[in-house]
């Protein structure tokens, strides 16, 4: 299997502060990778770099065939291949669910209204919110909004989906409905990288777990490393997470 995501010694600083101090890992097509770690370990920054919301300063990053350290990278094409979902949903408040989903297919792919609507119908069914198509975001619960955000990304038919702490703003009851959608996506074969605090979910769904600490990959392996950590730091982190 060829890696769809390849990070080699990636470095990134914000001013004086070095956030990524040489991050190296790969993710294969169809895999689910969970990036875990304390706040400030650089996991969200690493994820944001993959969609070039942040630019890297050292090392190399290959995402779906795009060289991200390249200055004349085709951003439009990168963003067709990569979908990202944020902690704060970021739905467009003035548009209905259907309009939120159809905006990018129409604007970016130049689809006609009808064609975009068909895609919207398909992806909204995937997240189980068919009856909410004509609602506005403010009429939905947080969990429902996050599911719409996932559907909006899926409408662009990405090859890779990034999830940045997508359940962190949700109540435990609402977390479940979002995780079920993501689990189904994984079962459908979508390549996914998620930054998450949900250990149980990572254990269940992730093919690869990446434990980041202080701007580096500290330990990496199959989800077994959550049961049998090799380093005392990951052991402590897993134990600490279990308490919550």
């Amino acid at each position: 299997m060829s890696p769809i995501v390849e990070l080699k010694d990636v470095r990134k600083s914000f001013g004086e502060l070095e956030v990524l101090k040489g991050v190296t890992f790969e993710v294969n097509r169809g895999e689910v990778a969970a990036i875990i770690g304390q706040s400030g370990s650089g996991k969200s920054t690493a994820l944001r770099c993959m969609d070039r919301l942040e630019t890297i300063q050292g090392g190399s990053m290959l995402i779906c065939g795009h060289e991200l350290h390249d200055d004349d990278i085709d951003l439009k094409s990168l963003r067709r291949d990569v979908g990202i979902v944020f902690q704060s949903y970021n739905l467009f408040p003035h548009l209905t669910v259907a309009e939120n989903i159809m905006l990018a297919p129409r604007m970016v792919k130049g689809m006609k209204q009808r064609q975009a609507r068909e895609i919207a119908d398909t992806v909204i069914a995937k997240v189980g919110l068919r009856e909410k198509m004509d609602c506005y975001p403010e009429q939905l619960s947080g969990g429902q909004q996050q599911r719409v955000a996932i559907a909006r990304s899926l409408a662009m038919e990405p090859k890779l989906m990034l999830f940045d702490e997508v359940t962190s703003a949700l109540d435990p009851q609402l977390t479940g409905e979002v995780l079920r959608v993501m689990e189904q996506l994984a079962a459908d074969g979508m390549t996914m990288i998620l930054v998450t605090h949900e250990m149980a979910f990572a254990r269940k769904v992730a093919d690869r777990v990446i434990y980041m600490r202080d701007g580096k990959v500290h330990e990496m392996g199959s989800s077994d490393i959550l049961r049998m950590p090799a380093t005392p730091e990951l052991a402590a982190f897993v134990a600490e997470s279990a308490e919550h």
């Binding site: 969609d51 919301l53 439009k76 963003r79 067709r80 990569v82 979908g83 990202i84 944020f86 704060s88 970021n90 739905l91 467009f92 408040p93 003035h94 905006l103 990018a104 604007m107 970016v108 506005y136 403010e138 009429q139 955000a149 909006r152 990304s153 662009m156």
Partner: protein, 227 residues
């Protein structure tokens, strides 16, 4: 001391008053359309344009906001005339008022644009929308929606302030009233009538903005949240 009210003497001039109302309304309508276009464009430049363009816009905004409207009117109308360009007086007045309201609109719309959360821009960027598409579909409409009450007040003020162009010879409502007053000497009556007409026009402009708001912001219409 007794004063005999004689509204009939004033109301006899109703065709002239109607003419004045029509001129004021036309002035307001044109300045509203051009003012929103000018102010919207300047707000976009001021928030997302190149540095030199931002500077030009801020100079324009500060100059207009810190000088009297009357001075601006004289400057633009007589200034243009002294360059040898002959424009109908109503066109000159429209330009002067538009330049003025455009600056205020810039500031109001800029506040709206800046209130849009960064996450909205990131979401649009990640979906692959271009900068222009992001402005058109993700930023401008919610930005206008947020500042709409301030915007509609500003345009009611514009309608009221348009009386100032009577001093450069435009026969709008106030100019006409002045003429009626000098012909009838019914100062009190004419200004009572004038006040009532301006009040009615203000309600009309507000109503117009409310209707426009319902057309522009379907979410408000559907959820019934007032503007």
């Amino acid at each position: 001391m007794t004063y005999n009210f004689d509204f009939a003497a004033v109301l006899a001039y109703w065709p002239l008053l109607l003419e004045g109302i029509w001129t004021t309304l036309r002035l307001t309508l044109f300045c509203t359309v051009f003012g929103i276009l000018l102010g919207g464009a300047c707000a976009v430049v001021r928030t997302g344009g190149p540095t030199w363009a931002r500077w030009i816009v801020s100079l324009y905004v500060e100059f207009i906001r810190n000088t009297p409207l009357l001075v601006q009117c004289y400057f633009l109308i007589f200034g243009i005339a002294s360059m040898g360009i002959r424009l109908p007086i109503l066109v000159g007045a429209t330009i002067a008022l538009t330049v003025n309201i455009g600056a205020y609109t810039t500031e109001i719309v800029r506040a709206g644009i800046e209130s849009i959360h960064r996450g909205q821009l990131e979401a649009a960027t990640c979906l692959g929308l271009s900068r222009t598409q992001t402005y058109l579909h993700v930023i401008i409409r919610p930005a206008l929606e947020r500042v709409y009450p301030a915007l509609s007040s500003q345009y009611v003020l514009l309608m009221l302030a348009s009386s100032i162009v009577s001093s450069v010879g435009v026969e709008e409502l106030f100019g006409i009233s002045n003429r009626i007053q000098s012909e009838t000497y019914r100062n009190f009556e004419i200004f009572v009538v004038l006040g009532g007409i301006y009040l009615g026009l203000a309600i009309l402009v507000r109503g117009g903005f409310a209707l426009l708001g319902l057309a522009m912001f379907p979410r408000r219409r559907k959820l019934g949240t007032p503007l």
